[in-house]
Symmetry: C2
């Protein structure tokens, strides 16, 4: 029944169920892994903005929903998962790069010692990402990510990384799409890294994924067109970079924004500035037994000023321990 | 009937009509403004790649079609339409910029003399675009484009610019979408300029429009989030910049590419390099009475090396005089 309703939702004129019964069908089974209070808050907003008779109605073309990825759709502890991919790829590429042994950060990774990278802070991680990503062709990089995502496991949960995704958020993505929203990822993670697997994991196509990105060049090599990642300016899709990237890639102000850190604060403000009645949501990681508990004391996903602004602006703060009945599909 | 078929086409399992009759319905009324030979060539390719039993079948997720805009979806003579918008906007902004009077190119435009700009070549046009676009907020710029596109007329055809679009190409966009393709614009024109009106004109949403773009900044001014166009590096979405932008914005190699100039050659090569059986198409402007006739002798839309490569690679060359029964909806 839900599928049938979803199809009609794409047609603006039929977003509002015609009968009370249809209205009930429309909501059946939506957001089952959410506690009632946050689920009802989301549903109330969706019903309000998809009701053609409401003054807060949002036309389908303007139903743009954006989501952070690390810490919002999947975990980002103890380090963002892309770092685990980068370490793995660095080891695979190392035989061709003897010069890496002279670099304390890179040599540390190759020997399994993360200390030098961690001491170097954000610059250390960026160095590892650059070394493991730059110089590769589009095809080689996609294959490397694809092989990794199909085999690599999260150590804490002993599951493939692509399975360790927040089930309530997957339900939310589905629910929004069923109501005519377009869902986009707007993440500090690398766009090229995410695009390989987001369709399978979240139903989000490569062209709906916005992330950090570096430079690339196009050339024809032996008659074959090739895109290669090259050194150069890096676009950091974080903080103020997120609304600018939304402007650059989507060209519309979102009406829904989900995030979990101060890095998402600017895109929440931008969403709040929409001419429509928008909704913003912050995941607060509070569950140390089922997942992780962190906010101000973490390198990845620092949450402090965004939480303060959430109170001022009535953004929904999701207490993962209390508000998620289930965190993962397997748990 | 066609609409009903279109809906089902989005579902991969039903892209192939189940019966011979359905197969005929599927094709009825498709591409009516095209001559039979090019129409049949397009239809044959679409049928081949959407037939699940064909070795050339392309899954829906990989049906990416890219189109240039100026000269491919609408005219680009005597100058690209965005220049007409820029002239109009320059005049509107001039009172706040007395310094423009000292610049021969900008002062020329304000006085209605295009000679200094034309003598300065591509740099002259870029200067006009920069002066008329930079420093504006996202909202102000969108409003300026919106007002212009709703009122400004093409001098040759005495119609709104947004009506002077190639009817056969609109039919092709519809036909491809009805068969499960995602249609994107990949143009040298400004993304922000196009996004305001492409949905109405072509059914292409803002987030399906890739174009040239400059820098922007995000800030909160008087409690209101604002994106402003600022000076800085300019991404030129032309020639080798097109496949790089496709990589950056779409993240998949296209399987269909439509263009009309040497600026589109690199994205045609890139499309030809797809692992699937792809199709490339070049519009050759050959109709001086119904539109314009040009190829090697023009500033906008120079066509020479791409035509040579089309012969080598069997890209479809559309002779607009012969192959378009109708060029515009009104003509």
């Amino acid at each position: 029944m839900v599928a049938a309703i979803c199809l009609s939702c794409k047609n603006e004129s039929s977003t509002k169920p015609e009968t009370a019964l249809a209205g009930k069908v429309w909501e059946v089974n939506a957001l089952p892994s959410w506690a009632d209070t946050p689920a009802n808050r989301i549903k109330s907003w969706v019903q309000l903005v998809t009701d053609t008779s409401s003054p807060d109605f949002i036309p389908v073309a303007d139903r743009i929903a954006v989501f952070d990825n690390d810490g919002t759709l999947w975990p980002e502890q103890p380090v963002p998962n892309q770092a685990a991919f980068a370490f793995s790829n660095l080891r695979a590429l190392a035989p061709k790069h003897p010069e890496w042994q002279k670099d304390p950060v890179l040599n540390g990774i190759l020997k399994g010692d993360l200390d030098p990278m961690e001491k170097a802070g954000a610059k250390g991680l960026l160095k590892v990402l650059n070394a493991s990503h730059t110089g590769q062709t589009e095809e080689a990089f996609n294959t490397a990510v694809s092989n990794w995502i199909d085999t690599a496991k999260d150590a804490k949960f002993n599951r493939l990384y692509k399975e360790v995704i927040y089930q309530p958020m997957v339900e939310l993505l589905d629910y929004l799409r069923a109501n005519g929203f377009k869902t986009f990822i707007v993440s500090g993670g690398g766009a090229d890294f995410m695009r390989v697997w987001t369709e399978e994991a979240y139903g989000i196509a490569p062209y709906e994924v916005i992330g950090s990105y570096g430079q690339a060049k196009y050339e024809v090599v032996d008659g074959k067109p090739v895109i290669t990642k090259i050194p150069g300016e890096f676009y950091n899709d974080d903080k103020a970079g997120k609304p600018v990237a939304i402007h650059r890639f989507i060209g519309k102000v979102p009406v829904f924004c989900g995030g979990n850190s101060d890095g998402d604060q600017a895109m929440m403000q931008y969403t709040s500035g929409s001419k429509y009645k928008s909704m913003c949501m912050i995941l607060h990681h509070t569950d140390s037994s089922r997942e992780y508990a962190y906010d101000v004391k973490t390198v990845s996903g620092h949450l402090e000023t965004a939480l303060a602004e959430a109170k001022e602006k009535n953004w929904m703060v999701v207490d993962m321990k209390k508000d998620f009945k289930k965190i993962f599909d397997f748990k």
